[in-house]
């Protein structure tokens, strides 16, 4: 065991997979000598050479598209989008191609690519370096979307994503990169994609969330603990397709559910979670399912006060939680 930050866990996962399987390679903008703008690929070019750690031209559709081609061939590309916001030029390759290759070819071809991208705000990134983009892709059968909330999860899930036989979008919270630290096993641990995890047991209220918000939820839940309110926290981990069973279990357990996302509310991941609960747990609910999300604006502004107002934080969650608990 060693204490790793979230980003170190990610680097570690890529490194181990590259050591074990020579078909794994990474490509993206500045991933080589610079080691990525956040240093996620630091040290990789030194260890694996520029053949397997490829600095690409500034062209996201090519990064995805070349990766998709290589994946169909039989390689295991790990493509980096420098910021999740810049995945948009690659949407056609991801939705029209990666997601549909297995289905359209009736299982003749498949496309085991991983596309990593840092998402989320709170880093003075303004509109285009702060977005949560998962909802754009969370309606596309054929894709999987993973958003880990801790270093251990990040490592285990990224390794699983690289070994997965299908395309996986892997979104990493950029503010979590250095904020989140914990002991991470050095073993070759793989976490199953598609399974949510109970991060905290409780019996009064349930929070269902993912990514950095899990961290905020934990902080909020602790505050209420002293007042005798215990919170069940379900971390979705894979936000598409969702782990329905785990959602149903977590919602039914307390009957009071708070859904949290850093994304704006309408059309977000937590809308689907709410719909699932509505379909399956109506008679177990003691209060309407609540959604706590960002305001309906295009993205987070740059000015620090506006950014703070937009961002999710433990206080906002605590407030809702308290209110819901006393419903």
């Amino acid at each position: 065991m060693a204490v790793l930050t979230y980003i170190q866990a990610i680097t570690q996962a890529m490194k181990e997979e590259m050591q074990q399987n020579e078909k794994v390679f990474v490509l993206g903008e500045d991933v080589g000598v610079k080691g990525g703008v956040f240093k996620a690929t630091e040290g990789l070019i030194e260890e694996f050479g520029e053949e397997r750690v490829i600095d690409t031209p500034l062209a996201e559709s090519a990064i995805a598209g070349v990766g998709i081609g290589a994946a169909m061939y039989g390689m295991r590309p790990v493509a980096e989008m420098q910021f999740a916001d810049f995945i948009m030029p690659a949407v056609n390759q991801i939705i029209s191609e990666a997601a549909k290759i297995r289905y359209r070819s009736n299982n003749d071809w498949h496309c085991p690519i991983v596309i990593r991208a840092p998402y989320g705000g709170g880093v003075h990134g303004g509109l285009y370096h702060s977005q949560s983009v998962e909802a754009v892709f969370a309606n596309q059968p054929g894709l999987k979307i993973v958003m880990p909330s801790s270093p251990s999860d990040a490592k285990g899930l990224l390794k699983a994503a690289i070994r997965d036989e299908d395309p996986v979008l892997f979104f990493e919270h950029k503010r979590g990169y250095r904020l989140l630290k914990e002991d991470v096993s050095e073993a070759d641990d793989i976490l199953p994609i598609g399974q949510a995890a109970v991060k905290k047991e409780g019996s009064d209220v349930t929070i269902i969330t993912y990514g950095l918000c899990v961290h905020f939820a934990q902080q909020a839940a602790e505050k209420l603990e002293s007042e005798g309110v215990t919170t069940e926290i379900l971390d979705l981990r894979t936000v598409y397709p969702l782990d329905q069973e785990a959602i149903i279990a977590a919602a039914s357990k307390t009957g009071k559910v708070l859904l949290v996302t850093e994304d704006n509310k309408e059309g977000s991941i937590i809308s689907e979670v709410s719909a699932i609960i509505n379909e399956h747990c109506l008679f177990d609910l003691d209060a309407p399912v609540r959604r706590l999300a960002a305001p309906e604006v295009p993205a987070m502004p740059f000015a620090p006060n506006l950014e703070k107002e937009f961002m999710m934080n433990p206080e906002k969650i605590e407030r809702e939680l308290r209110d819901l608990a006393s419903f």
Binding site: F25, E51, R52, I54, T56, P57, A59, S61, A62, A64, G65, V66, G67, I68, G69, A70, A71, M72, Y73, G74, M75, P77, P89, N92, Q93, S96, E97, K100, I101, R102, Y103, R104, S105, N106, N107, D108, W109, H110, P141, G142, K144, D164, E165, D166
Partner: protein, 333 residues
Amino acid sequence: MDNEQNKLVENHELLLEMYREMLRARRIDERMWILNRSGQIPFVVSCQGQEVSQVAAAFALDKDQDYALPYYRDLGVVLHFGMTTKELMLQAYGKADDPNSGGRQMPNHFGQKKNRIVTGSSPVTTQVPHAAGFALASKMEKKQAVSFVTMGEGSTNQGDFHEGLNYAAVQKLPVIFMVENNKYAISVPLNKQIACAKISDRALGYGMEGITVDGDDPFAVYKAVDEARKRALHHEGPTLIETVSNRLTGHSSDDNHLMYRTEEELDEAKEKDGIIQFKEYLKEQQILTDEKETEMEAEIKQEINEATEYAENASYADVTTLAHYVYSQEEAK
């Protein structure tokens, strides 16, 4: 005429094989129109007018090593890479045994792994970066293989064309980009698509070789692809080849091209039909006799008849399979 091309000219058997493949593509396509017009199949998108380019190019490749990433008109390419007439008919009918997609995709959305034909989609030009990806992978694995990708000239205006060619050029990947310029993107004529003189003028901006050839001339196409392949395998990078010919049909069975094209233009195009020119050459050179021709036509006709009947009687995929193969091992569920 250089050596390679000379070899081709002298290899009468090969020339006959090439001619046969072109003819087969044409006759299959013609049959599909008949089936469409008589209500048997809902859709056709044709190779007619581009078979010479397709077949000559495919013959210059190594179909046991190279990867083909064809577009919807490339009947000639997929035939050479090993797709059978029966399989082509199965896909036209959308039947379960269609090897391309089991009837999931529209006709002419090719893909067949065992024959190294990479699965394609409808949004044009997405295959171009894929071709760079195949080339990158085969270069990493030190294989003696190139990837061969085709598209229409209209598709060269998509962002993915630019990004794919640039990527391949920067990393000197073994790719051959072949643009089948038939002068139309559905109804939009060349002068509303591009302002450059030739599509191959784009090669300079990627720092790669570019060449425009007469797509109705099998010798010129063969030579261009053959040279491009050598260049690719010698680590000299990708090549952009433009083959100029004519689309002899509407864009698809849903399109009435006389709304935007004159009869005269079409008649002219039909006169330049590469298959007819090639046949005349073969006859002049006494490589093809009338007898041989009749025999060929008969064989092909029978093959198509059998394939059509087979496909017509084949079953659709069972509806219970609708949700299979979204993800790995889905069918096990």
